[in-house]
């Protein structure tokens, strides 16, 4: 015991420990006989069992939460940094790919050499995002 003997809380705790130790040394059958006459003893047992059930739920819930957070962080992938192409570069890329009849481009895209700047940029960025062309590609 680490408590100070001058501290009344520690003094009380000494008495408490003697009582609790004696309780643990009491044969179970004798204790149950006492509990039959003393409702507070029975209530203490019911309360302890309830506290245990709550503890199981609390620990289970915190484990579940920890597992969810671990899964979340394991599944998290930062969005790829996609280089913003200017319209001229985007058109160059599309022209080059269509000239090469690159299968990475859909038929519709191959017929769209005259698409708008915005559409060209969007198409190239989609191809980068899909990994069809390298984001650091030089044209």
């Amino acid at each position: 015991m680490t408590a100070d003997t001058n501290d009344p809380r520690a003094e009380l705790n000494k008495i408490a420990r003697h009582l609790a130790d004696d309780l643990f040394n009491t044969p179970d059958a004798e204790l149950l006989q006492e509990a039959a006459k003393d409702a507070s003893l029975k209530a203490a047992g019911i309360s302890a069992r309830g506290i245990y059930q709550n503890a199981i739920q609390a620990v289970g819930a915190s484990r579940l939460q920890a597992a969810r957070e671990a899964m979340k962080s394991a599944n998290y992938q930062p969005p790829p940094e996609i280089r913003r192409f200017d319209a001229s570069t985007a058109h160059k890329i599309i022209s080059k790919l269509t000239a090469a009849n690159d299968p990475q481009l859909t038929l519709a895209a191959r017929n769209l050499n005259n698409i708008s700047d915005e559409e060209a940029i969007e198409l190239v960025m989609e191809l980068v995002e899909l990994g069809a062309i390298d984001k650091d590609v030089q044209f």
Binding site: A3, P8, L23, A35, L41, A44, A48
Partner: protein, 211 residues
């Protein structure tokens, strides 16, 4: 030679714990503890008498403190179920939980001694010291000390004869055997006296002035 099982052969850090030589197995370092699942299974199958022991002892241990028995019992269960406290194989689980509560109370008293500093300064990295931060005392330290002092005064006035002598001997740190010898009680008389003390303390604890 002690009988050992395969599961005992490695420590938690996966270091081999047994050394072989001349057909002897050294088992001194083996830490044979229950897994969390085993502990949960054992606790779940406790009998009514064991639950009574845990419930009532938690109330006793918090006597005169600003925390409740149910809180210290809950904390002991949680730490055990989280695997932060390991139950040695062979030790009855209710005794293990009881020991955990006593240890937490020690840490609580130690921490509250340096209150209010303990709220802002961590001077110890001991597990118990950290664990008891989960407890929320209902009153401040000075009030808690005053309440304990009042309870001791009430005890002083309540107990007479053998009961008073037993309480005095308990406060002086005598062991149960020494108390029986000093006061002149048989083991049965000592047990009866303790029960009488317990009943009177229960009544005291319910007194509004000491709550």
């Amino acid at each position: 030679m002690q009988k050992i099982f395969l599961q005992c052969l490695y420590s938690e850090k996966n270091e081999p714990l047994v050394t072989w030589g001349a057909n002897l197995i050294t088992t001194e370092k083996i830490r044979d503890v229950l897994s969390v699942d085993e502990l949960r299974e054992s606790l779940s199958s406790l009998t009514e008498a064991k639950w009574i022991k845990l419930g009532r002892s938690s109330e006793y241990l918090c006597m005169g403190l600003a925390i409740e028995g149910k809180d210290i019992l809950n904390l002991a269960f949680c730490k055990a179920l989280e695997g932060k406290r390991k139950c040695p194989r062979g030790l009855p689980v209710e005794v293990f939980i009881y020991g955990a509560m006593k240890s937490l109370i020690d840490a609580y008293l130690k921490n509250r001694k340096r209150d209010p500093l303990h709220l802002t300064v961590k001077t110890s990295e001991e597990d118990d010291s950290l664990d008891i931060d989960d407890l929320q005392p209902t009153i401040d330290t000075p009030e808690e000390i005053l309440k304990a002092k009042q309870t001791l005064d009430e005890i002083d006035q309540t107990f007479k004869d053998d009961e008073a002598m037993v309480v005095m001997a308990q406060l002086d740190g005598y062991s149960p055997k020494e108390i029986q010898e000093t006061v002149g009680l048989t083991p049965t008389q000592y047990a009866s006296t303790l029960k009488a003390i317990g009943r009177k303390l229960d009544k005291l604890a319910k007194k509004e002035s000491l709550k």
